[in-house]
């Protein structure tokens, strides 16, 4: 798929949570300045800005899309600006477009920001946005579909076919929240849950309990990326993109033969690993952005770590939790981090970079040389798997 020669050299992030007093531009300033400073660069070294489109915030989206960020931040060396929207896969596209700008000489270094402020939006507007975004207005929405409903349909069938139990599904949340409990930027920092607490939470859409669904939150992050060659000069801890696989499935779940999306993930995982020249045994941390618990299971199975249907058991045994032999989703995915629209995906790449930089604090996976990161948009419209590493190869 074109190996590219992209490297992450700096990241910035604000804590995820409900902070109605923190305006979008507060977050943009803070995360972008953090990322540029962490890269050891001057603001005028940034030659391109490619933003993740914020969901459900039309005004902010058009301000950013029409070029406000370089102007606000005074990025005097900026050559071009753009916004990318592919839902939860927006960040993957920002990274790929940055790679093209860098390869073609448009920009030597690119800033990739994201911001979401849900807490100031009326709850009914948010429900309405997430009820209709990604849903077909003719064939799904009139029947009361929501994101939770669609994923409930997938989870129900997954549990039926694999025999995965409610306790095992709840244990996915337990594992994710154990990671989140170690993450000062999570809204669930120091707040782990038990299987009993997950199963006793309100039923939202069978089989999904409230604690298996996402809590909407505010947040933001930024990354600075550059070429492999320049990365080595800029920082002692560059994070190299080593391989990637991508495939489109369908916008509507109902049109998907690969209903669990497992085969799509298997294919993109293999392509990414092959391109990086490694196997899944070499991967030290699996940064799955799966958005819901059942898909953590599917991704583990697709990566060949577990046989189909065995992932729930594996997760319940603690293998993906802190200290486990296969650390997965070390910010706790959307369930553990808080859902920031298109932002969970950038948070996942930021964490991938932190793990490989050795800057993941209490969540640090020892001797972390290779990381696998996933993203998907819409209601699992696509699958993007990327391998990142500490050394170019």
């Amino acid at each position: 798929m074109g190996k590219g020669k992209l490297a992450i050299v700096g990241v910035g992030e604000v804590p995820t949570g409900r902070y109605p007093d923190r305006a979008p531009w507060d977050i943009i300033y803070e995360t972008c300045m953090q990322a540029v400073r962490a890269a050891g660069l001057d603001k005028n070294d940034i030659e391109g800005v490619i933003s993740v489109n914020p969901m459900a915030q039309a005004r902010l989206s058009s301000e950013i899309g029409f070029g406000k960020i370089p102007e606000e931040l005074g990025l005097k060396g900026c050559n071009d600006v753009c916004i990318c929207n592919a839902g939860g896969a927006s960040t993957a596209n920002c990274l790929r477009l940055a790679e093209q700008w860098i390869d073609s000489g448009i920009a030597k270094t690119v800033l990739i920001p994201h911001v979401t402020v849900h807490s100031v939006l009326p709850p009914d507007d948010l429900i309405a946005f997430f009820a209709t975004a990604g849903m077909d207005l003719q064939w799904e929405y009139p029947f009361g579909t929501t994101y939770n409903g669609i994923v409930a349909l997938m989870s129900q069938r997954y549990m039926y076919e694999t025999g995965t139990t409610a306790e095992e599904m709840a244990s996915v949340v337990v594992a994710l929240r154990r990671w989140a409990a170690l993450d000062p930027n999570s809204m669930f920092y120091k707040k782990p849950v038990t299987i009993e607490e997950v199963l006793s939470s309100k039923m939202v859409s069978t089989p999904l309990h409230a604690r298996e669904c996402n809590v909407l939150a505010d947040g933001g992050a930024a990354m600075v990326v550059t070429s492999w060659d320049l990365a080595k000069e800029i920082t002692s801890t560059p994070v190299y993109k080593l391989g990637q696989g991508a495939t489109y499935m369908s916008a509507s779940a109902v049109l998907r033969d690969d209903f669990f999306t497992r085969e799509a993930w298997r294919k993109t995982t293999q392509t990414a690993l092959d391109e990086a020249g490694i196997t899944s045994n070499d991967v030290d941390v699996f940064e799955f952005y799966a958005a819901y618990p059942f898909c953590q299971c599917v991704m583990l199975e697709a990566a060949g770590i577990c046989d189909p249907g065995e992932a729930g058991k594996f997760i319940m045994e603690g293998h993906t939790s802190p200290g486990g032999k296969v650390p997965c989703a070390t910010i706790g995915d959307a369930v553990g981090r808080g859902h920031t629209g298109s932002g969970v995906s950038i948070a996942n790449y930021v964490e991938t970079a932190r793990q490989l930089m050795g800057k993941a604090g209490e969540r640090q996976v020892p001797d972390c040389n290779y990381a696998l990161a996933t993203s998907a948009g819409g209601a699992y419209m696509n699958a993007v798997t990327t391998i990142w590493g500490r050394e170019p190869q």
Binding site: D124, I127, A128, A131, D136, L137, Q138, W139, E140, Y141, P142, F143, G144, T145, T146, N148, G149, A152, L153, M154, Q156, R157, Y160, K202, M203, V204, S205, T206, P207, L208, C213, S252, A253, V254, L255, F259
Partner: protein
């Protein structure tokens, strides 16, 4: 009947025959006259061969539940009066798959593989939604 507050389908010119069918309490499936593909949801051109020569055939109105969920909360205000409601994916005997609601039964009795039949819900004078109920043994 005109106080229906829930969303009605946003109909396209090429899907209009489907909704004219439901209004007459008939379930129609789009079929490509070139390649024979049965298509759901209806498209302007055949997604298999890009033919514009599209026709319709009447479905038997029977199928089986591929998956289902009972929604208890987390919906827009306009859906609150329906809670709890069953959302399901139905595999029709004709080989296409649809999203819909299962009605006329206790949500706890719905299961994967259950045989269902179409039932037409005239929600306004213009719009009839196809819904599904368990086939009585």
């Amino acid at each position: 009947m005109n106080d229906y507050r829930k969303p009605i389908p946003q109909i396209q010119p090429w899907s209009a025959p489907f909704w004219e069918g439901t209004k007459k309490h008939e379930l129609l499936i789009q079929e490509c006259a070139e390649c024979g593909a049965r298509i759901f949801y209806p498209r302007k051109y055949c997604p298999e061969c890009w033919s514009s020569n599209m026709g319709w055939s009447r479905a038997r109105g029977r199928g089986r539940i591929y998956s289902h969920t009972t929604t208890m909360t987390g919906v827009e205000t306009k859906f609150l009066e329906d809670l709890p409601f069953v959302l399901a994916i139905i595999d029709l005997d004709e080989g296409v798959r649809m999203t819909g609601n299962v009605v006329d039964c206790d949500p706890d009795d719905v299961s994967i593989g259950m045989e269902v039949e179409v039932v037409f819900d005239d929600v306004t004078s213009e719009i009839t939604l196809p819904k599904w109920r368990p086939v009585k043994k």
